[in-house]
């Protein structure tokens, strides 16, 4: 990771340096939270609610969220729907292809823990957190667009509470 992650560890040593890091931090967090472009990702019925949320009635655009059809341009992965074992591997590949910083939102019972397919099922992964780390879980089958929007607001809260130091890949250097 780049200079921006390493720099605060050194700057903080100087007198008044923490003023710089906190302003940098809030600027970065603001930009990250206000333009979460999400990976278009519909695996099952929950995707219909996600589409409804993206459309004009609920409108993701007002949160600065647009869908991207490529993982290289996406910041947020919304896993909307049933993740099968077969798809789990592909989800992992897509997650690995996304650029840092990246966030994952698991929408619906299926992506959270297998949902209605928890018992007696040979094909469904019991939650997408078995293959990738998840930031926000949204329960429901399917969650209404309001819940999805609340999940996105929770995600923003989480991003605003990030510290620059959390991103420092090698904090032992200081």
């Amino acid at each position: 990771m780049g200079i921006i992650e390493k720099a605060p560890l050194y700057i903080e040593k100087f007198p008044g340096g923490s003023v710089v890091t906190t302003s940098l931090e809030s600027a970065l967090n603001w930009s990250r939270a206000s333009s979460q472009w999400y990976l278009l990702f519909g695996l099952a019925c929950c995707a219909i609610e996600m589409m409804a949320t993206g459309a004009s009635r609920y409108d993701f655009d007002r949160l600065g969220m647009f869908f991207r059809a490529s993982p290289r341009q996406a910041d947020l992965m919304m896993v909307c729907g049933t993740v099968t074992h077969k798809m789990g591997k592909r989800v992992k590949i897509l997650y690995d292809q996304m650029a840092e910083p990246k966030y994952v939102l698991a929408m619906g019972g299926c992506a959270t823990n297998g949902g209605p397919f928890y018992y007696d099922c040979y094909s469904v992964l019991k939650g997408v957190d078995k293959v990738i780390p998840v930031d926000v879980y949204i329960p429901g089958c399917p969650p209404r667009p309001e819940s999805l929007l609340q999940g996105c607001l929770k995600m923003r809260e989480k991003i605003y509470s990030q510290k620059l130091k959390d991103f420092a890949s090698d904090s032992k250097m200081v």
């Binding site: 074992h85 077969k86 591997k89 928890y118 018992y119 007696d120 099922c121 040979y122 094909s123 992964l125 019991k126």
Partner: protein, 163 residues
């Protein structure tokens, strides 16, 4: 043709190879012995009174007492009637001749039944796995009593419990 007419015509033609299952459904349910299976299929498709040119679905069935069956749902665009054809398969080594020679649509259905139930279809043109992931080697998941990785059986609700 209505239900009775179809049943009578098939019974007349094939006699003891046919067994009619009594149901309340509007369409006839017919068991056919495995020796006459393809012959009956060809008859059902080509006979001008039957004309079942559309294979709706073909599925495997595994009963709790360890019997295997395949069930085909046929329909006719011309006469607007439907029919369910069932075949009982041998217990230990479930095997059937392929129906792709009659209906091309049977191809994927048979691949699915092959993979999920372990029913072999002899003479299938393309017997590759269809649905399960590539390195699957946990057997046939739709058979009764199957367990595998990450499989959680339904808890018995009648016994009570904390679920």
């Amino acid at each position: 043709m209505n239900k009775e007419q179809i049943e009578n015509k098939i019974t007349q033609k094939f006699g003891s190879a046919i067994e009619i299952q009594k149901t309340k459904n509007p369409e006839p349910f017919i068991y056919v012995s495995i020796e006459k299976y393809i012959e009956v299929c060809e008859f059902l498709k080509t006979d001008p009174d039957m004309c079942f040119e559309y294979l709706f679905q073909l599925g495997g069935v595994h009963y709790p007492d360890d019997r295997f069956e395949i069930a085909l749902t046929l329909s006719s665009h011309k006469h607007k009637h439907e029919l369910v054809l069932k075949v009982k398969l041998p217990h230990d080594n479930p095997k059937a001749p392929t129906a792709t020679t009659v209906w091309e649509a049977a191809n994927w259905y048979e691949r699915e039944a092959m993979e999920l139930f372990g029913i072999q279809f002899e003479g299938h043109p393309d017997p590759r796995p269809l649905l399960l992931y590539d390195d699957w080697n946990y057997g046939y998941p739709m058979r009764k009593g199957w367990t595998g990785p990450d499989f959680i059986p339904m808890p018995d609700k009648t016994k009570g419990g904390d679920d």
